[in-house]
Amino acid sequence: MSEDLKILDEVTNSDYKWGFVSNIESDNAPKGLNEDIVRFISLKKSEPEWLLQWRLKAFRHWLTMTEPKWPNVSYPEIDFQDIIYYSAPKKKPTLNSLDELDPEIKATFDKLGISLIEQQRLAGVAVDAVIDSVSVKTTFRETLAELGIIFCSFSEAVHDHPELIKKYLGSVVPYTDNFYAALNSAVFSDGSFCYIPKGVRCPMELSTYFRINSAGTGQFERTLIVAEEGAQVSYLEGCTAPMRDENQLHAAVVEIVSHTDANVKYSTVQNWYPGDKNGKGGIYNFVTKRGICLGDRAKISWTQVETGSAITWKYPSVILKGDYSIGEFYSVAVTNNMQQADTGTKMIHLGKNTRSVIVSKGISCGRSQNSYRGLVKIGKNASYARNFSQCDSLLIGDKCGAHTFPYLEVANKTAKVEHEATTSKVGEDQIFYCNQRGISTEDAVNLIVNGYCKEVFNQLPMEFAVEAQKLLSISLEGSVG
């Protein structure tokens, strides 16, 4: 028997250790991962039996899998037994006032123009309950409810709308999908659920703020968005994390279902702690994001601005099943210092006349490594499918790296696929030209890089675009000597 199977066997055959349950009052699960932990999480969240079983299946499957090694990133082995998989929200403030906040974080908040109240919340100063793995900010809920829109935390949805969760959970990203998706399915803590009924156009941007708070707590969110026939929604995901010393694992799963004529736009600004200048600390971000255009003329659009994390491993994808369905991916990924990013998308064309657009802008500075990895797959029934990909890399300095890995699989002769790629450097000529007009080198780089990213920023909702630009400036700080 192989080692894995032996472990699997041991785990699946061992009795559930009830003794553990006496600890149900504790805020954190003990470090490590086994079936008991999975049960603990499920119990903590008073989940129905079917969900527990689903988690357990995912966990057992995860045990048979190994960490993917193909991304162009390197990091020390993650000890999955050294992670806390559940921590309840802490009501106690970690700081008494903003004065106690790390001045570097404070400076970042100020540069981002975050209000003092919001800063207090983010920094974990008293005032509000600090948000951790559990719960989601659910604003404007009443207004939405009138339209039949459901926007709530995943846990709430499990209790209030079990039929929807049961129907869609894992329907786009099954737990068998990949190592991190399996892990997430087993131990996901919370996340968001969003449901737009038939013909409803969501009147506001739906946004959530996720944060990582407790040191050493893995973060496993689960987001599910369902847009019924003709529905429309724009969803924003943004996050920020405080400075910390320990590598933190983050493995989220996002699933989107877009029915006939539905339109889902998903925008992300990701700004997690990237580690210090030597690469110490920082978040490991291994995310599985996928949407499916189930019906004809359905549309899913991903826009992401990735500036944070020590390691980013993320490929928001679209399965274009319905005829005439549309998938879009707009991405800006910035890496500085020792950051590593391997990100891109997959566009899987199954339906006829399906269309996809990929615009990826990678920016590397410092000693960072930035890889684009994209798959365009045209199935044999996807007649007249079309894809256009534009993958640009911008280098700042000469110690960083940019890599492009485009994969193309075309099984239908009528399909049309175009790929363009460029690599450029922020030119000294451009910087000097700006200098000569009174613009400092730092501002010049910001201006040039923002110009370079414009196509992607144009896709973001207004306020988000502004935030993204500020983030970009902060990420680029010190990138030019």
């Binding site: 000569q436 009174g438 196509e455």
Partner: protein
């Protein structure tokens, strides 16, 4: 305004400026002519503070301060403007946005209030008229896809927006059609005041019919070898540079 003494500069180890002396007083327009490769653009670049150009000797004082000690952006903020021989493209950055940043940086340095969007637009509309520039150009990315002539006109537009004290125009007339030449010249003339000065680098006497210089200089082998009035330009047009080269050979 500007006082250059015995300026020596090299690029990539090659000596280009060889002890150049040059004086510009407020309100004056100086034309600099000279054969290809004589160092005209190099002089402009050194004055603007381009890093690759290494100053190995001499001094430059601008409005009473040591220009060579200043960063390129500080020189610009102090009122030095260079209309580039080859303007640079900045994709994705609109002309308007670029100029708004520039104008406000310069205003900040002068201790003036920052212009809000409305005031900026007003200023832009005013200056656009001056160089008869199309509104659409301000929304396009800086110089991207501009024709040669449009790029040059854009430089003068930027100059008009920034209202510098000393403007150096490096072959702004090259590539301009006859109408554009007139428009650009009118733009420059409109900016002429008793306290603003211009250094106009050109190969063609024709420009000097429009922008009438107070002095004409010949730059040759990194030195000003001859100076005169606008008649010198006419003489050069007629005879070329050989006679000057010969004069120097005899003198040496």
């Amino acid at each position: 305004m500007l006082s250059i003494k015995n300026l020596q500069a090299a690029v990539e180890g090659k000596q280009i400026l060889n002890g150049l002396n040059f004086e510009v007083k407020p309100g004056e327009v100086h034309a600099i002519m000279g054969p290809n490769g004589s160092g005209k653009s190099t002089l402009a670049s050194v004055l603007a503070g381009r890093e690759e150009y290494e100053v190995s000797g001499g001094s430059v004082s601008f409005l009473g301060t040591d220009l060579l000690e200043m960063s390129p952006e500080d020189r610009a903020r102090a009122g030095l403007f260079l209309a580039f021989q080859y303007p640079v493209e900045i994709p994705g950055v609109s002309n308007a946005n670029f100029l708004k940043t520039a104008v406000n940086e310069i205003r900040k340095a002068r201790g003036e209030e920052i212009l809000d969007s409305k005031a900026f637009l007003k200023l832009m509309n005013e200056k656009m008229k001056l160089v008869e520039m199309d509104k659409a150009m301000t929304q396009r990315s800086v110089n991207e896809g501009f024709s040669g002539g449009e790029k040059k006109r854009n430089e003068i537009f930027q100059m008009a927006m920034l209202e510098p004290k000393l403007s150096i125009l490096d072959e702004t007339d090259s590539g301009l059609d006859i109408d554009a030449l007139r428009i650009v010249s009118n733009g420059v003339n409109a900016l002429r005041t008793p306290d603003r000065s211009f250094i106009v680098i050109t190969h063609y006497q024709r420009l000097l019919d429009y922008i009438v210089p107070d002095f004409v200089h010949v730059l040759y082998k990194g030195r000003i070898v001859k100076s005169g009035t606008k008649d010198l330009a006419l003489e050069l047009e007629e005879k070329g540079y050989d006679w000057i080269k010969e004069e120097i050979a005899v003198g040496a």
